[in-house]
């Protein structure tokens, strides 16, 4: 059976980057950047998530069908959030709908 075995060095390296990003996101949170605090925090969290998914969860080396399943999870999550906010963020834009 052919299994791709990731060398330990890669795991240690990914771990180090994850730790640096954690320290960075906490440090940056203490600087007031207005609305950009949220943007930066979520951007760093997304990088961390991608690293965990690709290396710790081995998505770099799974079959294409599995990759489609991974992508489906993310796409449906995006639909869930986008369509919900499409409603809540636009309430009160016209006189018919009441603000939330």
């Amino acid at each position: 059976m052919t299994v791709h075995i990731t060398p330990r060095r890669t795991y240690y390296l990914v771990f180090a980057v994850l730790m640096i990003l954690t320290a960075t996101t906490t440090g940056v949170a203490f600087i007031d950047m207005g609305p950009f605090n949220v943007v930066v925090a979520l951007f760093i969290a997304s990088i961390k998530a991608v690293l965990v998914v690709l290396f710790f969860m081995h998505v770099l080396h799974v079959t294409n069908l599995t990759k489609v399943f991974v992508a489906a999870g993310i796409v449906w999550l995006a639909i869930l959030i986008a369509l919900t906010l499409n409603d809540y963020l636009t309430r009160g834009w016209d006189p018919i709908s009441r603000p939330f």
């Binding site: 059976m1 052919t2 299994v3 075995i5 990731t6 330990r8 795991y11 240690y12 990914v14 771990f15 994850l18 730790m19 954690t22 996101t25 906490t26 949170a29 203490f30 007031d32 950047m33 207005g34 605090n37 949220v38 925090a41 979520l42 760093i44 969290a45 961390k48 998530a49 965990v52 998914v53 290396f55 710790f56 969860m57 081995h58 799974v62 079959t63 069908l65 599995t66 399943f69 991974v70 489906a72 999870g73 993310i74 449906w76 999550l77 869930l80 959030i81 919900t84 906010l85 809540y88 963020l89 939330f100």
Partner: protein, 215 residues
Amino acid sequence: MSESTNALAHQFDDLEQQARSNTLGMWAFLATEVLFFGGLFTAYVVYRHAFPEAFAVGSKHMDVVAGTVNTAVLIASSLMMALAVQSAQLGLRRPLIMFLLLTMTLGAVFLGIKAWEYHHKYVENLVPGVNFVWEGPLRNQVQMLFLLYFIMTGTHALHMVIGICLLTYLVLGARRGRFSREYFFPVEIIGLYWHFVDLVWIFLFPLLYLIGLHL
């Protein structure tokens, strides 16, 4: 009968096909978990948008130090899990057991810190439905933040408890020599679950602890 024949379930042609199917099935389950937590995250976003002032004052009661330490602890436990899976792939029994136990220990440390935080919230009278007391304005809106905090971190903690039970099952199996270079997929699959729980926390941490510092 050889060990590898034992490991092969009868509906599969070979171990490779079985391994691929296991991974695919686990990702299908994880996709449903993404949507399960996604609903909670969406609720959080909607209420933060609706009550920005209340979420700003309420967020001052989150313990940033505990949250950061817990993030580091959980990422370290994910590393241990990754090393456990690698040990299983290489057929190394002793390192597998050691890394599984380290993963569980770090998971338990996370839950301990979480419990300490919960206790702190209880002492501060910030637990909705139990003893929520808020002297300032926007009481109900602030209570909504803490309700979301407890439901989101509580569901996450429940997943961790289930994860520790699954890891116990792996340790018992590894001690009896159930896993080999041919048959390590239970370790891989439960590893995926553990990393997913880590992923959820990677997003919970900035949303609940960090972005409230400046609102």
